[in-house]
Symmetry: C2
Subunit: 434 residues, 2 copies
Amino acid sequence: MTAPRRIHLGLFLQGAGHHVSGWRHPEAESGSENLDLLRRVVQAAEAAKFDMVFLADGLTSGVDAHPSMIARFEPLTLLGALAMVTDRIGLAATASTTYGEPYHLARAFASVDHLSHGRAAWNIVTTSYARTANNFSKSHPEHDARYAIAEEFVDVVRGLWDSWADDAFPKDKARGVYADPGKVRVLDHAGTYYSVKGPLNIPRAPQGHPVLIQAGSSGPGQDLAARAADIVFTAQASLPEAQSFYRSLKARVAGFGRDPASVAVMPGFMPVVGRTLKEASETLRELDRWTDIASAMPLLEERIGHPLGAYDLDGPLPDLPLSDQLRSRAELLTELARREGLTIRQLALRVAAGRGHHIVLGTAADIADRMQEWFEGNAADGFNVMPPYFPGGFDAFVAEVVPILQERGLFRTEYEGTTLRDHLGIGRPAWPGA
Amino acid sequence: MTAPRRIHLGLFLQGAGHHVSGWRHPEAESGSENLDLLRRVVQAAEAAKFDMVFLADGLTSGVDAHPSMIARFEPLTLLGALAMVTDRIGLAATASTTYGEPYHLARAFASVDHLSHGRAAWNIVTTSYARTANNFSKSHPEHDARYAIAEEFVDVVRGLWDSWADDAFPKDKARGVYADPGKVRVLDHAGTYYSVKGPLNIPRAPQGHPVLIQAGSSGPGQDLAARAADIVFTAQASLPEAQSFYRSLKARVAGFGRDPASVAVMPGFMPVVGRTLKEASETLRELDRWTDIASAMPLLEERIGHPLGAYDLDGPLPDLPLSDQLRSRAELLTELARREGLTIRQLALRVAAGRGHHIVLGTAADIADRMQEWFEGNAADGFNVMPPYFPGGFDAFVAEVVPILQERGLFRTEYEGTTLRDHLGIGRPAWPGA
């Protein structure tokens, strides 16, 4: 008997909430250095049996950014900390292939996998914002070059994760054998972008390979996801778009000879829970009212890749050449504006609210209905839940929406296993041999 | 009234113990993935009121390495974890200026400082082993170039740590001010090796700047330490050598216009505690007997920078040209061999035992006497304690030596403050302004 297909849930954690004005809600707590808040929220997600908590990342700062992105914990050190105050929930962090080194990155995620006894996941990004280069003494590679680099980077990381057999460290005191010299695999990678000899200086991870998440929606992004990822994180504003993306992605997965069911598509999803639809709408309207259009515009402009100050805020989005660097993100927003006939102002507020992700307003049952519709309609295998503010905006979801999903048999009521791979129902990669 | 000068104590943590055969001791536990062991040992150090726990690091692996260096946790993720299971002890990790990026490193240490509420320290190393380059798609810079890079790297990191005023994040809900635009300092560094704009994407650290440790003993290493470090970690095999290094270092500190008392010199120190000197000697002899000379030789050869297979193991160390890459380390060992008339075999075993650090055998009182002698004789402001094996080799030090130091008024009986800077008695750097 096959286990029934179940929804996977991630908590997308941002210190100041996802709505750009979430931190201004009377009940909101915020702050990237607010470890106490983050700990409570993650423990609440674990009590609700979420698959994972998910940390975004960026390598720049500035006062005109989304509050959660001005300042935050470095994700891997934070995951190390969260590993000690949780037992079961998966721990996912974003890290860039454009601004990192495969050896450092392979090692840090393997380390978190050990610290958490098999709960680590790496969200692979190539970093879209060119200004990042200013912090790293280099120039920003173009979109397609970034993905070519990422493809090789990911292969090096996976190779390094196979440096040692699972039983490579007998620590046999009598024979004096700490590491078994027959159980090491030297990678000796020499490619286009990287030369990495190995072996990695940490034992093989409890999960073999930490779980891989990919979040790029461009063609090269989908290809990398289809070839290598276990989870695909994506921004889909409507059901038809999400279904189309889901179909396309699963076909690509099959094209790489992989089982489409082994890759979980998890769109971002912002629930705004009220006792009535009216109350939920009022909550969102209030958050939008706190959003200064002057602070929302930079968020839209950096996603579109163009200054928009010369255009009428209450007119339509003009036809603009799409920046190569930001292609997939800019396309999604342009389509959204066209489809819904949004003005520049309305689009800026929408981005400030949910950054192009699906926003659902309503009662807990309304929200559960929408999740079920997307899940059963082959638009999603799960959701990366983006509360507009913390902790209240998440507490309401946990207290009211999760029990409905559980009653409907759509979501687990207890963890069946101990690792993130267990939660996802995917196997552990075997060591390929020396 | 000035507080009396007190010994500073660090626990130098290595998963398999410091003696190369420490892990073979009948009571030893080991393993880099053995989080439970590391946690217990660090909590024991905190209960004993140690200033800090100290993690070495390296960016290569191989079965001929010291067992603690074949495989270990990535230090910063481990510090994140240890921050959650300790309250007061300082948390120091090693990270390389040759194989890292200032932005990543500044951010990760600031993050650990937030996670631990002001207990982070960075041990600055330039990475001496040229084979490291094989894991990082680059070539290994020469010794003096590494230090020139390190000097600039450290300045960039310190500059990034000053990106935000301590009160830069009012999070004023009514006025809608999350970050105060007047309280950010954009670094705009453009130097010889690095171009880093900033600001850093994390609030200013609780300590202002995490504590800086420097461990290079060459001339350029001492200069970097004297200019920038709060703690100097060093390998000194004998009292006269240690006194000479201490004098030299403190003079260099004064030469940079800094108070010599503000920099703590902490040599590595391996205590082997017995009920009698004979029992302690027998413990060390037993550990040495477990050391295979074939596995000890690579450890010596990598420090000397030459293969030694062509020479008589029971003859003297030949005159060898000192490798530029390893100059200070090779000099220390050559001097040690000359002074004590050690054969190659004896030197290899000494390196396998303590890697050139001071080894003290005896009763708890003998060991306390030696520490007092070095401390009062201006050879050390404290010690980085290197137990030959864990946990027993450390438990004996904590149970027997620490109380003697406390009775003599040489070591604290309670933490007076909450941050590592408090433990060291050094101030918190003020924000330099926007």
